[in-house]
């Protein structure tokens, strides 16, 4: 396949939604409005764990312009959640984190709604709280959810008190492996809360019609999941809920789950008016779906020449007051700990823990940066101790074609050695310490292309253009442009002939959603299937007219061809409309699950990875010898993308992912003091600006996958995985200081120097 000449797929073509975005005409959820719309605001808890002893909304309800005030007693108390149904829309009787929603108001203006929230009177009686996940695991620790055992939960997770989920993976005999080891290393690493940082706040507008159906315009990444979860929270059959995604200003996994949609829908239901709810930066940094903090401990036994003989690891993941994707994230961390390294004896455990802090979620490559920071920092520590070059130590241990993965699955299309060698060569690895205060670091990883099914409707219009209707939203990554390139390739048309519609759950075919590096991959495969069906339909339509065999009919150059016969695609589409209802097809795709050994995994929702990718990052940086400030001189990414559907937007994914990874490595943290967030604004939550970012050099490696369109692999999540480890490793080379707690701020480096008496 890879040697084949392609006209559209693989080319650096312009995205299909660019013009609307540069002219301000692209409508995002936050831009959307309806006539008569009210504005919703939420009263949030000022206590981390408390009983609500008095709640009086009478003054708020009496304000001019207030149309509706809701508290828990006004709506059914329905518990919802991804892994565990542990959360209600409004707290009833007890709050579990500072920022939890207690009441919601709809008013004729945002200012009145804000005034109404301030007018609500509330008194609390404090309850014992727990903020540290390791303390939450101690016997006698306060329970975040005293009634945890009554909650409904996915059966795969093993729960107990503050443990919202516990998973394990293992093989061989670690004790025997350690006994054979030349040396054994034990280290502990910690990582922090980081916010996805999308520039468009989470927004929803809800409106009820005369049939008692609700439409919700939302910037969600998962319209179908949203529809089902809203139906649950609204106590409605799912067919009464319609979710429409106009446009979405970034998601990065932070817009997967219900955020403000339920407030808008309930307020609209009770006020009988459309209601819009949009988050503030303060709400984003106190009640959103940031990356979970973790504590990762590793014990690793190696032979004299640096082969990994036995590895034990434990990930304690702080999921905050509600589980959401925490249990699954703790489980996925185990694969990140394992790969891309061979090891005959493994025992890994992941534990998701409740604390009285804000909820968390599935920020880009959930578990990736946390587990990788630990593993890749430790590999360098081991290499230094053994006196082996860290690149060489990695090369001795990485997966080879046909190896077994951690769940016993057979691994193919392995490119990790090529990624490592190319990244190292590009950064100039032979000179790891080019000068005082300067150093180079490397880190590598692997990641999956998430499964789940995709459907597309593809329609060929009588003007020769093509419309694709998909249930996957365009987050910005360019994934839908990529899928459209594949469709154009298959149908013999140009990319500019393809139109993609917005997602509307009433009309769009199902898609598992824009998550998990899967959109271009999975929608692209569905487009290939739809195009195949359209070729069949066209063949059956024109073959009798031309007296040729249906399978001799090809689509090329915007036309239908067989031998010396030719009609334009437009003519054939018109013919079909006149005689057969038009050319339309439903293409579907799903990845097969790899065969794995169930004895190696326990309580794991995603035991074996599908269509894994490999990648290596290398960085050259300098550290200021007084302030400890890090400046990045060069940054190189070598990523196996299988097949580069559109190299420009793949580079865009890599450059943007590295920026988020650099933020996690050096500057970003939602800082908690007990249960209180100290920096709930964008002045103090420090995302990289244009001046903080280096130029990222991208090396695209194309080792085709078995299941991707033209061999493609998922691209979007991996680039944010390695920056913390690569940067920590380079800082250690530059300064001799090994920081094992993210973020590696200038302050931490400077303090470590003082401690060393440097």
């Amino acid at each position: 396949m890879s040697g084949q000449q392609r006209r559209v797929a693989g080319k650096r073509l312009k995205r299909i939604d660019g013009i609307g975005k540069v002219t301000g005409k692209h409508v995002y959820a936050s831009d959307f409005a309806l006539p008569g719309m009210l504005f919703g605001k939420v009263l949030r808890s000022s206590e981390a764990h408390a009983r609500i002893v008095r709640l009086d909304v009478s003054k708020a309800a009496a304000l001019a312009g207030v149309r509706c005030v809701l508290t828990a007693k006004d709506i059914p108390q329905i518990r919802f959640g991804t892994a565990i149904k542990d959360r209600t829309m409004l707290a009833e009787g007890e709050v579990r984190f500072r920022g939890e929603a207690i009441a919601a108001v709809a008013a004729t203006s945002l200012e009145v709604a804000e005034a109404a929230v301030r007018a609500i009177e509330i008194e609390y009686e404090p309850l014992p709280a727990v903020f540290d996940p390791e303390q939450a695991l101690q016997p006698g620790a306060p329970l975040v959810h005293a009634g945890w055992s009554d909650y409904q939960a996915l059966p795969v997770f093993d729960r107990d008190g503050n443990i919202s989920g516990r998973s394990s993976m293992g093989s061989g005999d670690t004790a025997a492996g350690f006994a054979q080891s030349h040396r054994i290393y034990e280290h502990r690493f910690t990582t922090q809360h980081v916010h996805p940082g999308y520039t468009e706040p989470r927004t929803a507008i809800a409106s009820w019609d005369g049939n008692g159906d609700v439409s919700v315009w939302s910037n969600t990444q998962l319209p179908f999941d949203m529809k089902n979860m809203l139906a649950e929270v609204l106590d409605l059959p799912a067919n009464k809920v319609r979710v429409i995604v106009p446009g979405i200003g970034g998601g990065f996994g932070g817009k997967l789950r219900v955020g403000v949609e339920h407030f808008a829908a309930w307020l609209a239901r009770k006020s009988k008016r459309p209601v819009k709810v949009m988050t503030t930066s303060e709400e984003e940094l106190t009640d959103a779906y940031p990356r979970q903090p973790t504590v990762v401990t590793l014990k690793t036994g190696v032979s004299r020449d640096g082969l990994l003989l036995a590895r034990e690891g434990k990930v304690i993941l702080d999921c905050g007051a509600f589980a959401n994707s925490g249990p699954a994230t703790a489980a996925i961390a185990l694969q990140v700990l394992a790969g891309p390294y061979r090891s005959p004896n493994l025992a890994f455990e992941g534990i998701a823990v409740y604390t009285n802090k804000g909820s968390t979620g599935s920020f880009r490559a959930p578990a990736g940066p946390m587990a990788n920071f630990a593993v890749e920092s430790q590999i360098d520590l081991i290499a230094d101790d053994l006196g082996i070059d860290p690149l060489e130590l990695r090369l001795r241990n990485v997966y080879r074609e046909g190896d077994r993965g951690p769940a016993g699955e057979t691994l193919t299309s392995i490119s990790i050695e090529e990624c490592l060698r190319k990244a190292a060569a590009a950064i100039g690895w032979t000179q790891r310490k080019p000068g005082a205060g300067r150093g180079k670091g490397i880190a590598c990883s692997w990641w999956l292309t998430t499964g789940g099914s995709s459907g597309v409707y593809v329609k060929i219009n009588p003007d020769g253009t093509v419309t694709v209707v998909s249930g996957a939203v365009e987050l910005g990554s360019g994934a839908m442009t990529g899928a459209a390139q594949i469709l154009a390739e298959e149908l013999g048309v140009d990319l500019t002939d393809i139109n993609a519609t917005d997602v509307d759950t009433h009309v769009s075919p199902y898609d598992y959603g824009a998550q998990g590096s899967r959109t271009a991959f999975s929608v692209g495969n569905a487009c290939i299937a739809a195009a195949k069906d359209l070729r069949r339909q066209i063949g059956e339509l024109v073959a009798p007219l031309w007296n040729v065999a249906p399978d001799s009919v090809r689509l090329e150059g915007k036309g239908v061809v067989s031998g010396n016969k030719r009609m334009s695609l437009a003519e054939v589409a018109g013919l079909s409309q006149r005689t057969g209802g038009g050319l339309i097809s439903h293409g579907t795709a799903i990845q097969p699950m790899p065969v794995f050994d169930p004895n190696r995994v326990k309580n794991h929702p995603l035991p074996a990875w599908t269509s894994h990718s490999f990648h290596a990052h290398a960085v050259d940086l300098s550290v200021d010898d007084v302030t400890g400030e890090v400046s990045i001189n060069r940054y190189v990414v070598a990523q196996d993308v299988g097949f580069a559907i559109n190299p420009t937007y793949i580079e865009g994914q890599i450059e943007g992912g590295v920026a988020q990874g650099i933020g996690q490595a050096l500057s970003e943290e939602i800082v908690y003091d007990g249960g209180r967030v100290l920096n709930a604004n964008l002045t103090d939550y420090k995302m990289p600006t244009m001046m903080d970012m280096p130029r990222v050099e991208c090396i695209l490696i194309e080792k085709p996958s078995v299941n991707g369109p033209y061999g493609a692999k998922g691209v979007g999540e991996p680039p944010c995985i390695q920056p913390p480890a690569a940067i920590a490793n380079a800082i250690a080379v530059a300064t001799g200081i090994r920081v094992q707690a993210l973020p590696i701020t200038a302050e931490k480096i400077a303090l470590a120097r003082l401690k060393d008496g440097d």
Partner: protein, 168 residues
Amino acid sequence: MTRASLDLTINGETHQLMVEPHWSLLQVLRGELGMTGTKENCLEAECGVCTVLLDGKAVNSCILLAEQARGRSIVTIEGLGDPEHLHPLQAAFIEHGAVQCGYCIPGMILTAKSFLDERHGRVPNEAEVREALSGTLCRCTGYQKIVDAVIAAARQMNSWPEQARRSS
């Protein structure tokens, strides 16, 4: 609150408005006029998505009172170019793959326009672009392709006569 009359000149057209004295220009653009090309996020001048041009200079419309724009010329993204006649910056952003989710892009493009206009056609280097545009956050792109797009647009605009640049 009492509304007072306010005439605003936006993209060359005069709008007669009744506004409350504490309303921001952003609030008036998006809420009163439905001009949603100017985006809303942090409301404290940290993210830059609400940037508009006030007498040709980039400002954060979220912290500017609408009243402060009285008698001045406001340009929003809607006034820069239209789909058939893109401004060189708009065309360059698409050409260089600088647009992903696009939410920061109106603010980014207007900031770039203000910056390039101040330079009267002198093409900036990468460090100058990074400094000038650092007030606008983008979470998708890592900024690189935005920098490339701004320099490419500057080169193209550099070939224009001064008058054409000013009226663009």
